[in-house]
Symmetry: C2
Subunit: 129 residues, 2 copies
C-alpha cells in the first residue's frame, strides 16, 4: 500500500489541474498484477488527498455530487500501489490492488468488457496483448 | 491493425455516450506489447469513426477544436489493435501499437511519467507491477 503524509498529499493535490467537469482530474485505474485497465473515474482535490493519505482509493461522483470509496458497500475496495500524473497534470494513473475480481458493478473484472468487433460486441475482459 | 467497415464504425459510434466536454468520450490508450498506459485523450463521434475505419488513432483536440491524428507531424502514429468501451459507454480503451517509443511530446514513452513519492516526484515511465 502506498500512503503519503497529509502535508505531502496536499502538496501533490495542489499541483494537479482540475480542468474536467466539477473540478476534477480523470483517473485511469490499472490493476497491479495483471496490468488490466479496470475503469475510468473522476477525482476532485479532496478525493486525491483522501486517496493519498489513506491508501484506499476515493473518487468524486459527478452524478451524486459526493465523495465515494470504491467498494464501500461491496467490500471490493481498491488499495493504492502507485500514483502517476501525466504531462499536463489533468489525468492520473492509479495502480491498484483490487480486493475482488470485480471492479465493475456489472460483475466483471473490468468496466471495459465490451469489445468492438466487425460483427458485433463481444463481452470479454480486456487484454492488451 | 483493426479496421471496421464504415457502416459498422458508425453503428459503434452512435452507441457511445459523448457526455464529456465538447461532446466527447474519454479515451485511455494502452500499448499492445507492454500493457503500459500511454495517455488519456478525448474523442468525439467523428474521431471514433475515423479511428475505426482507418485503424489509425484520431482524437479531438479540445484546445484547438479540431480532429487530429496522433503522430501526424512526428510520424509517431498509433495503430489500433483493439477497441473496448466501458459499462456506461462514456469511456473507451484503445489498445495500440505505438510507432515510436515516444507517445508523449515531452520525449517519454508514456505521458504518465510523473511518479508521486513521499519525498517528491520521480520521473520514470509507469509500470503496473
Amino acid at each position: 500500500m502506498m500512503r503519503l503524509s497529509e502535508e505531502r498529499a496536499r502538496e501533490v493535490a495542489e499541483k494537479l489541474n482540475y480542468r474536467w467537469p466539477d473540478g476534477t482530474v480523470v483517473a485511469v485505474v490499472q490493476e497491479y498484477k495483471s496490468g488490466r485497465v479496470l475503469m475510468v473515474a473522476s477525482m476532485n482535490k479532496e478525493a486525491v488527498i483522501k486517496t493519498l493519505t489513506t491508501g484506499i482509493v476515493h473518487y468524486w461522483s459527478k452524478s451524486r455530487k459526493e465523495l465515494w470509496v470504491k467498494g464501500a458497500t461491496s467490500g471490493h475496495i481498491q488499495v493504492l500501489e502507485r500514483f502517476y500524473h501525466d504531462c499536463d497534470s489533468d489525468s492520473v494513473l492509479l495502480v491498484v490492488r483490487q480486493a475482488s475480481l470485480m471492479a465493475c458493478h456489472e460483475g466483471y473484472h473490468s468496466c471495459f468488457h465490451y469489445k468492438v468487433e466487425e460483427d458485433g460486441i463481444e463481452v470479454e475482459e480486456p487484454k492488451y496483448q
